[in-house]
């Protein structure tokens, strides 16, 4: 604030230090025109938003579900053409054949049942994995030992394939759902912990300070400041973890097998693959895809809309 300049003699003195600048200040030839001064009496403003009529093409393009449907249709078409062109229905069935097998599996209830088994396992593993990831990252956020632990453990265990855990899982949990859960947690924990940790580290220092200022420490700081602020990173971690939980589940159901016909989608795929019903294999995979799309659009996109997008954190 240059308040004091007004009446300080020193100020005027200092100002001619830059005479070149001062000279140019006096309007002269070649200067911008000197216009009349105007004042407007302003009526109280009734600022109604302007109606904007968009052309229908634009409105069509603005419709996100429509655009996505178009993408899906295009993919289906490519698939169909590719399958027809390779003409090897044991390796790559057509889209139409897969759709038929999907419909049949759906109507007979078999696919639904298998999907339900897989989903229920998956959700359990996912939730457990999330809990473990948050425990680990919360620790890493508050102590240096936790940070070292996180970075060392993830670097060590994240690259390990599930089969590496098989002996341990069998020793501790035996055959069955618990071992599968163990493997699922392994799939969810590390990527989510990595993403969350990166998100935490990226929280603006001043937000962190504001939180600490109000007496938040440890877990409360994590819950009230770090998690909301790192939500975009966490969301991407959750998406990745979700996908990997699926991948792992499908693969692990083959290894751990099924107890008395209780197999899920992975088992369905495995069995049909062994019987060379490739269309059903693809129907099983399509089921995974459909669930993936549903979760993405119903859960993750919604979550994103009501949180980060609304907060203006993410565009």
């Amino acid at each position: 604030m240059s308040a004091v300049f007004t009446s300080l003699p020193g100020t005027a003195l200092r100002a001619d230090a830059r005479t070149s600048g001062s000279e140019a200040l006096h309007p002269a030839a070649g200067e911008p025109p000197v216009k009349a001064e105007v004042e407007f009496e302003l009526a109280p403003c009734t600022a109604t938003p302007v109606e904007r009529a968009l052309p229908w093409t634009r409105r069509l393009l603005d419709n996100a579900p429509l655009r996505r449907a178009a993408i899906l249709a295009a993919l289906a078409l490519v698939w169909e053409l590719l399958a027809r062109w390779t003409d090897n229905d044991l390796l790559l069935p057509t889209f139409a054949a897969t759709a038929r097998a999907f419909a049949a599996g759906f109507l007979s209830g078999e696919l639904l049942e298998k999907a339900a088994i897989s989903l229920s396992l998956l959700l359990q593993g996912y939730v457990l994995g999330i809990a473990a990831a948050f425990a680990l990252t919360a620790l890493a956020a508050s102590t240096r030992l936790g940070r070292d632990l996180l970075s060392t453990l993830t670097a060590m265990f994240n690259p390990l394939p599930a089969i590496a855990l098989l002996p341990l899982a069998l020793l501790w949990f035996g055959l069955g759902a618990q071992s599968l859960l163990f493997v699922l947690v392994h799939a969810v924990l590390w990527p989510l912990a990595l993403a969350t940790h990166a998100g935490f580290q990226n929280v603006p220092e001043v937000l962190r300070m504001a939180g600490r200022n109000y007496g938040l420490t440890g877990l409360r700081l994590v819950v009230h400041i770090l998690i909301p602020s790192a939500l975009p990173a966490i969301l991407s971690g959750l998406r990745i973890a979700w996908a990997f939980a699926w991948r792992t589940l499908i693969a692990a159901e083959l290894v751990f097998g099924a107890t008395s016909g209780q197999g899920g989608l992975g088992w369905y795929i495995f069995q049909n693959r062994n019987e060379l019903y490739t269309d059903r294999v693809f129907a099983g995979l399509a089921c995974v895809i459909v669930i993936g799309l549903a979760i993405e659009n119903l859960v993750f996109a919604t979550l994103e809309r009501i949180t980060v997008r609304r907060w203006g954190v993410q565009r």
């Binding site: 390779t86 090897n88 229905d89 390796l91 035996g174 097998g257 008395s260 016909g261 197999g263 060379l276």
Partner: protein, 310 residues
């Protein structure tokens, strides 16, 4: 005692177990011994998962090829002492090729690709090595490994049936080999496992730890008795057995294909292991197992039905 957890894998080779389980034969024979047996059946996807489960104590009876059983016998000797319980029957493995130039294994060229499950380790791979050893001598037993590729049966079967890939041969198992031969007119059999092993041979065997057998003698007896009854029943009722397989496994394979296999003269459902020693001897010769078995009775338990094991 009173509880048995059995693993099987996927396929018709495990029909004996399916029958025993479906007709509650184990429970029935348990009653005879004065025992209520609780049977748990788990389906696993491969030999090593099977071994891990058995060793961890999550499983009482495992079922896999002769090869994995021999390996496990070798490694656990003097410790868990895993040995064979019984055979699940004799099944032939065919080496099927779509290359018309290949009549015997000696005709394979650099351009051919033989698909196998687990090159160098699986039963099919061992048999191929035995055949190679017979053709070119023991030192050359791994000669064909160079053109072998590891590929799961379904994909290999799809490749042979429809062509369009580099794979020109597949050492398969039932029912894939039958499906390939039916689907592709160019597909023909180059080698049969029976020719290499010296006659009809056990393909898949059941095995367990010494501890289980000695801790649960009654359950063990009930189990083998149930298997024996199941074998008899299948021999007597092949049609019903085929139906049972389709029902129990919720299989969608054509009934005719299943029936053809069950009825095939090359397939026998019996408990007594047959022609396993040749493989065991070969594996010892090439160093895959360190202990040299004197006879098949070394790696099978001393049970009445194993008396004639060879």
């Amino acid at each position: 005692e009173g509880q048995i957890r059995i693993a099987d894998q996927f396929g018709i080779v495990y029909l004996l177990l399916d029958v025993a389980k479906d007709q509650k034969l184990m429970e029935k024979h348990g009653k005879v011994q004065g025992l209520d047996i609780a049977v748990t059946q788990v389906t696993l996807s491969g030999g090593s998962a099977m071994n891990d489960a058995l060793l961890s104590g999550s499983l009482d009876i495992a079922a896999a090829g002769v090869g994995p059983m021999l390996t496990l016998w070798d490694r656990t000797r003097g410790r868990q002492n895993v040995r064979g319980v019984a055979s699940l029957g004799n099944f032939p493995y065919y080496l099927v090729s779509t290359n018309p130039a290949v009549k015997t294994i000696a005709d394979f060229s650099e351009k051919d690709r033989i698909a196998l499950p687990a090159v160098g380790v699986s039963v099919q791979s061992r048999i191929l090595q035995m055949a190679a050893a017979k053709t070119w001598g023991d030192a050359q037993h791994a000669k064909l490994d160079k053109i072998s590729v590891t590929l799961p049966h379904p994909e290999a079967a799809a490749a042979i049936s429809k062509g369009g890939t580099e794979i020109t041969a597949h050492f398969a198992n039932p029912p894939f080999q039958e499906q390939e031969l039916a689907a592709n007119p160019a597909a023909h059999v180059v080698l049969k496992s029976y020719d290499v092993l010296g006659g009809p041979a056990s393909a898949t065997v059941l095995y367990t730890t010494e501890k289980f057998r000695s801790d649960n003698p009654k359950t063990y007896r009930a189990f083998t008795a149930a298997l024996a009854e199941a074998a008899q029943w299948i021999a007597a009722n092949p049609e019903a057995a085929a139906e049972l397989f389709i029902r129990v496994n919720k299989s969608k394979v054509e009934r005719k294909l299943v029936l053809d296999i069950v009825k095939s003269p090359e397939v026998q459902f019996k408990l007594t292991p047959q022609n396993t020693f040749a493989l065991a001897d070969f594996m010892h010769r090439v160093g895959a197992i360190k202990n040299k078995p004197a006879s098949a009775r070394d790696y099978f338990f001393d049970d009445p039905h194993n008396a004639g094991a060879n």
